[in-house]
């Protein structure tokens, strides 16, 4: 499989050449264009029950799409995400990462997707009750609205909840008020997430809720 990230940071998309017999798993509706000879199969996102949980409580889609190449020549496939923004690819080497709902885009078939209970904190913070975990070997593509920033946490750090994309397994999420009671609600920050632990965190520089709250008074 030859993959290339194109489109710059603003409108990242993945240009994939699937070799004969190869497969790739993507979230629903991720396909932008593809060679007509490729096969598409929809699968439940981790089985029917988990899939339903994922959809209603995790913000993920019910189905995953599996694209495969039944022909004998490499075929082209373009995958994108619903919102404009940056896409990144990480190569897992028998490790685990957690993603916020909506961040997952695609992965190689050797990667296992799991659903983990994220705790009530996460649910109150409107990040969903479940978090998506990716484990195993292989490439995972994820993205968000906005550009992506890497950060190494060692100790504690505060992140506005809608700006968190993914975090390493050794990091805990806690909730706190941004300021005093008055500030938190009028200052527009509300509840923020306190990250505690050690590891890598990926942040997004824009948020859909931020954009919507800017738009709403104008509508």
């Amino acid at each position: 499989m030859k993959t290339e990230l194109k489109g710059g940071k603003a409108f990242s998309y993945i240009d994939i050449q699937l070799e004969p017999g190869e497969q790739i798993m993507t979230e629903s509706d991720a396909m932008s264009s593809m060679d007509a000879a490729l096969e598409l199969k929809a699968e439940f996102n981790g089985g029917l029950f988990k899939g339903l949980l994922r959809k209603f409580l995790g913000g993920e889609s019910l189905f995953l799409s599996r694209f495969s190449n039944p022909t004998s020549t490499p075929k082209n496939l373009i995958i994108t995400q619903g919102t404009p923004g940056e896409i990144r690819c990480i190569e897992l080497d028998n490790e685990t990462f957690y993603f916020q709902p909506g961040a997952f885009i695609a992965c190689e078939e050797t990667v296992t997707l799991g659903l983990k209970w994220a705790g009530f904190v996460s649910w109150i913070a409107r990040e969903g009750m479940f978090k998506l975990s990716v484990t195993g070997h292989g490439k995972v593509w994820f993205g968000a609205y906005g550009a992506l920033i890497d950060k190494e946490i060692d100790g504690e750090y505060i992140v506005d909840t809608s700006h968190l994309v993914s975090y390493g397994p050794d990091i805990q999420l806690k909730l706190q008020l941004a300021g005093g009671l008055f500030s938190s609600f009028f200052g527009g920050e509300g509840l923020v997430t306190r990250l505690e632990g050690k590891g890598k965190v990926v942040l997004q520089t824009r948020s859909l809720s931020g954009l919507a709250s800017w738009l709403n008074p104008k509508l």
Partner: protein, 334 residues
């Protein structure tokens, strides 16, 4: 190696300024707690800042003179070229010297900013991380904070102004203070686009009301009403924020940022104006005749005359707002 200077306050007050007033101004300008400011003046002569080059020393002199304190610039004997040294030795003043770091396509700010900061995600989803020295405060647009160190405290102030409220911007502005040590704060504007910085040194900048991101305490922001006919019908809710004073100002654009040096005359769609310098004459007119007004889609434009700098954004708010109308859920009230 350049000659370095240190600046000290002599303890004398200038211009018939009262001691109380001077202490207050000094505390505010140099971001010190009141007692500390008072202590310093009483203990004078005392060194304000060391390790400055000529320009910075003059700036400090100007600053302290403006708060009514007499001061003196002296040459340093040893060549201490690292400003961070003076930072640790003087536990007093916020860092006045650093330049933003180079980051990808980001440019170095042209004038010396008060704060150290770095950009990310430029130019499409600009994001800025500002380093706040201990006890320093910064004003930030409501809801824009994305990340921050745990020792930063937030206070919400009703500073948005009625004008902004009418146009749907926030009435509130948050003040973030780094307590018990330095801290960093990451700011993300709501709209996709670029973010940029200007250091105001006594000059004035007019900012479109939704473009404001953050500023240091020395910058005053006033909402200017453009007059009934000039502003009200423009459809872009043409309220401007007048920024003046001394300090850092960060503003964002909706879309990409284009800087234009105006020499003569230029016409810009009101929705695309981000900021412009003082000294430009502007007039809001319709494009073409009334038919053009309603059908051309251009609506109102702003005709600038004179010499100055204009910052333009490549997207217009109205157009995007109209587009997303079709995606709103329809709720039937029953």
């Amino acid at each position: 190696m350049t000659q370095l200077y240190y600046i000290s306050i002599t303890g004398k007050l200038l211009n018939n300024v009262e001691m109380d007033q001077a202490v207050e101004n000094f505390a505010r300008r140099f971001k010190l707690p009141l007692e500390k400011a008072q202590q310093m003046i009483q203990k004078a002569p005392v060194i304000l800042k060391k390790g400055l080059d000529e320009d910075s020393a003059l700036k400090y002199q100007q600053a302290s003179k403006s708060v009514g304190l007499d001061c003196q610039i002296s040459k340093e004997a040893s060549q201490a070229s690292n400003s961070s040294e003076s930072l640790t030795t003087s536990q007093i003043i916020s860092d006045g010297k650093a330049l933003g770091e180079q980051h990808d396509s980001n440019q170095c700010p042209k004038s010396m900013p008060e704060h150290q900061f770095r950009y990310a995600g430029k130019p499409d989803y600009g994001f800025v991380t500002i380093d706040l020295p201990a006890n320093d405060t910064i004003k930030v647009e409501a809801s824009s904070m994305a990340t921050m160190d745990t020792n930063i405290r937030m206070k919400t102030k009703l500073k948005g102004g009625l004008g902004r409220f009418i146009t749907g911007e926030s009435l509130f502005i948050n003040e973030f203070t780094a307590e018990n040590g330095p801290g960093e704060i990451g700011i993300a504007p709501a709209t996709p686009g670029d973010i940029t910085h200007q250091y105001l040194n006594g000059n004035t900048l007019f900012l479109q009301n939704s473009a404001f991101v953050a500023c240091s305490m020395g910058v005053n922001t006033e909402t200017k009403w453009q007059g009934f006919t000039k502003g009200f019908f423009s459809g872009e809710n043409f309220f401007l924020i007048k920024c003046s004073g001394q300090g850092d100002l960060w503003f964002n654009t909706y879309g990409a940022l284009i800087e234009i040096d105006i020499e003569d005359e230029y016409v810009v769609d009101t929705g695309n104006i981000v900021a412009f310098s003082e000294g430009l004459d502007y007039q809001i007119t319709k494009v073409g005749g009334y038919k053009s007004l309603f059908f051309s889609g251009e609506g109102f434009v702003c005709r600038f005359k004179g010499r100055g700098k204009l910052w333009m954004q490549t997207r217009g708010t109205d157009a995007f707002v109209n587009w997303c109308q079709s995606f709103r859920r329809v709720e039937s009230s029953s």
